[in-house]
Structure formats: C-alpha cells, structure tokens
Amino acid sequence: MSLTETMGTARQARAVRATRAPQHRPRFSRARGAEALWGYALIAPTGLGLAVFYLWPVVQTAYLSFTHAGPFGGGNTWTGLANYRELLADSEVRQALLNTLEYTGLGLAGIPIAVVFAALLCRPGMQGVSVYRTLFFLPVVTTPVAVAMIWRWLYNGDFGIINYLLSLVGVAGPHWIADPRTALYAMVVVGIWMSLGYNLVILMAGIQAIPKHYYEAAAIDGAGFVAQFLRITVPLLSPSIFFVSVVSVIGSLQLFDLVYVLVGGAGQSARTNPAFSRTETIVYLFYDKAFQTNDKGYAAAVAMVLLLLIVALTAAQFRLQRRWVHYA
C-alpha cells in the first residue's frame, strides 16, 4: 500500500469515526484477540532477548553476590553475606569508592563550563555556530580508548606537550598519570573534555526552547548578557542542567575505559603504576575481580554496591532538584 493511498484512507477513517463516535468495541472480540496476539508477537524478539541477556542476569548477579565459586569452575557455594562483609573490610574497595566519588564530584565542574559555552553559542546574531558545535562534539564521537591514548601522550612526563608548555612559564610538570598526587585530577580533565560536547548539545536545545520574549523584555530593561544569563538562562535552563548532571553522575560512577588505558591495562602491569591506587575505580575493581582474578561472587557483590550507589545518588539528586530546578 502506498503512502498516498494510506493518507486517503486516513481521511475516510477520520470521517467514519466522526459519524460513528462514540464507538463501543465489544470487550472480547476476535479482532481484539488477534490484536493482542500481534502485540505479543512483535515485542517477542526484544522481550525474549532482554529476558535472557539482561533481566535474568540481574537476578543471577544478585544471587552470585551471596556465593563463592568452587575451585576449577565447580559449583557455587552459598556463603550468605560473606562477600559483603569482606567488602566492607577491604581497603582496596574503600579506596576505589573514594576515587570514584571524587572523580564523579569533580566531573560535575564540566557542567557550568558547558552552560557558559552553550549560552555564548545561543547569543542572537552568532555566526559559525555549527562549526563550533562540530569541533566541541569531536571528542564525544571519538573512541574512548583512542582518546585515552592521545591524552597519555599529552600527559607524558618527559616528552609530553603539556609539560613542555608548562616549562615555558617556568613550571616543572609532574608525571601526570603516574603520580598519585595528580593522576585522578588528570583523569577528571579528560572526562570533562570528552563529555563537554554532549552536554553542550543538550543544553543548547534547552536554551533554544526558552521563549525569546523573556530576553527581549530583559534587553528593554537594560539587562546585559551577564544579567540575562544569570536571571533568565540559568533558572529557565535548570531542567536541562538537572538532566545533564544526572547523566554525568551515572556515567562517572561507571568510569572504566579511561582508567584501563591511561593507567596501564589489566592485572599486574597496571599495578606497577605508582598512581594505581589513586585511579582504581569501582568498575575497574569489578573487572579485575570478575575477569582477572576470577572471583565472580566477590565481583558480583561489587556490582551490587555500584547499583546501590547509582540508585542512592540519583535519588538524592531528584530530592535536591526541588530546591533549584524550576519547571516553567
């Protein structure tokens, strides 16, 4: 059936509905039974795939977190809360949690930067907006592993361009990603750099949705760019700002790729980096336990802690939003 034909029948359908309304369908008609069967059939592929590869695995992970794997792939034995008790006493877990939380908190600094850039790009009369947007968006589409490689080179202590530029102003830069004092902050910078373009696009869409007459009225009252930015853009943009902060926190809590490539791979080779303990995140720890040391039960418990953390921090953000997010 062609589209124009369908459009034609669409008009008929509207006419039919107009004359016959209100329509009462019989509750258990054959047509309705057939429709239901079609409904189940159409959701079946995704539904079964999600059940097998996503929903049931969550249940299994929860179960695994209460077990300990037998030797040589033997059966799992139920150990109750043992994994969780071990986890609470594990200083590596505590350090990974602290690192992850610090990375997540500092990463939020990228949002005000994105808000300012978005506001600048949305100024009336701006030219070249799409060029800027393309350039800011480049890191978003670049493979994170490649991004991490590039920054490894920029951060190189001996030959890196960053330390060379610092030396021009008389500063001796550290070995950024191999120095426990700087490694985490070096990752924060890369994280902000990578996500700026994504935040920018979301925030620009938010600013474009703000009615123009607010700005016109403010301009008539003599408000300049800064006043307009603080009094109109930021408050009216707060739902979008809230959205990007939630996305940012959830993403930061799952940081893995950057740690893996910047710090130096898996297992023992990563641990030779003196900054390792300051850069290990929860998901890296999960990877290490699940696929390097093969402690699946313990790794499952780590994953459950991550879930708890995400739920808690997201819920906290939703509670706090009442204080600062304005829905027009």
Partner: protein, 271 residues
C-alpha cells in the same frame, strides 16, 4: 547585526574550540614523526611525513581483521536493533494487549541498571554456548535494546493515529502496517537510533575486551588497548593506530552532523 560583544564571544569560543581540537592536531602531527623526532625536547611542530607509522600498525596488530570485526559488530547490532526495537516500539505505542503497561515497565527497568550487573551472567551464557572469541559474542547481546524500544515508542506515539487506523480499516495486519506505514514515517526516529547505536557499538570497550581475547577476533578498541605494555612507548605508532581506529565514526559524524546532534538532543528531550 554585528555587535562588539560578539567579538569577545568568538574569542572565548575559539579558545574552547582550540582546547577541543588541539589534542587531535597533536595526535596527527605525532603520527607522522619518527620516534626520535617525536621525543625531541623542545618539541618541533613540523612532522617528517613518516607514513610508515600507519603501515606499522598493521604489522603490530591484525588491524584489518579487527577493523572488519568492529564493522560487522556495529552493522549487525544496528540492523538488529532497528528491526527489533521498531517492532516492539510500534506494539507498545499502538496495539492493545493485556499486560502492556506492566511489560513496558519491565522493559524500562533494564534502562535503570548499570551494565556491570549483566556482564558476568552474559559472559557465562556466551561461554556455555561456545561463542567466546567469535563474532556472535560481539553481536548477539547487543541486538536487544530497552533504550531503542523506548526511544521509538516515544517517536511512534508522536505520529498521527489516523494513518495506521486507516490501514487497519483496509484490512492490513499489524506486521504489514509496521512495515509499510510506520517504518517509512518513522525515518527520523530510526536515523536517531541508528546513529546512536553505531556510535555506541563502534566505541564499545568493556564487553568486547572480556569476550574476545584472541587478537584475530578482537575489536579495534580492545586491540588498540592491547598494544599497551609491549609497544606503549612508540607514541607515533600509537597515535597512528588510534587515529585509524577512530576515523570511521568521525567520518560518519562529519557527514551526518545534523542527524547526530538531533539524535543526541532527542534523547535529552525524551528522558
């Protein structure tokens, strides 16, 4: 209208843009230098056209295989999600059946859970099927997406109901309506989902790293990361490799910029 204030705005934005692009430019320049040249202090900018760094990548890694693996994974996941998610999204948006709301809520619940909660059991399923180190391992779990279903359902809800009702009065069954009426109308939504799936699949790292550790079967991300340790100091070659690995998605982005940006903005507006 040109105002003096815009000049300062351009200055600030240019500075930001330089910070975004500078690392890529330095990557490109380094990729064309010899190692002694790249590690010279103070550094010099002009490269010496050492294109052999790019061929060197193919000697260190089965780069061609890894490229094809990544392309096949990306293509299959994207095609699968477009078909399956649009079917499910259409059913949730338009068909009435008992338990629809509850099933949809179950789909959505998958969105709330971080992937680390699926990965160990997924790995065990793949291992039991004997699929480790295969294309199937890279593709199959990625064929199903709660996000894609949600995105397309929202899109279908925004289309006028008269069109598919008319097709139904003409006696077309839902499968036919989905294929001949809904899919052509849903092109912008399909493009948005397609682009996001291409981006996420090509750049996926954790899952391919875990299931395929045979270099011939790895994806580009995992292959590139495996250069660590042994070759981690040959920065010009690493820059060449990471540039080649990222180039295809960057190319798709440059060609389809508007759709990329709209797709990303769409996820923001639907969340």
């Amino acid at each position: 209208m040109r105002r003096p204030g815009l000049l300062a705005t351009h200055a600030a934005l240019s500075l930001g843009a330089l910070a975004m692009v500078g690392p890529f430019i330095w990557q490109l320049l380094t990729s064309l230098k010899t190692l002694p040249h790249a590690t010279r202090v103070p550094p010099t900018i002009v490269p010496d056209g050492r294109w052999s760094n790019y061929t060197q990548v193919f000697h260190l890694l089965p780069f061609g295989h890894q490229f094809l693996n990544t392309a096949a994974m990306t293509a299959a996941r994207t095609a699968g999600q477009l078909v399956f998610c649009s079917m499910a999204g259409y059913a949730f948006a338009r068909l009435r059946f008992p338990g629809r709301g509850a099933l949809f809520a179950v789909f959505l619940s998958v969105l709330m859970v971080p992937p680390q909660l699926f990965i160990i059991p997924q790995y065990e399923i793949i291992a039991r099927l004997g699929w480790l180190n295969s294309l199937a391992a890279l593709i199959v779990p990625g064929l199903f997406s709660a996000f894609g279903t949600f995105l397309l359902r929202q899109f279908f809800l925004g289309l006028p109901a008269e069109l598919d009702e008319a097709a139904r009065l003409d006696g077309a069954n839902p499968l036919r309506i989905w294929w001949s009426v809904m899919l052509p109308l849903a092109r912008p939504g399909l493009v948005a989902l397609g682009i996001l799936t291409i981006l996420w699949s090509w750049n996926d790292f954790f899952w391919p790293l875990v299931v395929n550790n045979d270099p011939q079967k790895m994806t580009l991300s995992a292959g590139l990361a495996s250069l660590q340790g042994q070759f981690m100091t040959d920065y010009p070659v690493l820059m060449a490799g990471s540039l080649l690995a990222a180039l295809p998605v960057i190319a798709v982005f440059v060609v389809m910029q508007r759709q990329f940006v709209e797709g990303i903005a769409f996820t923001g507006s639907k969340a």
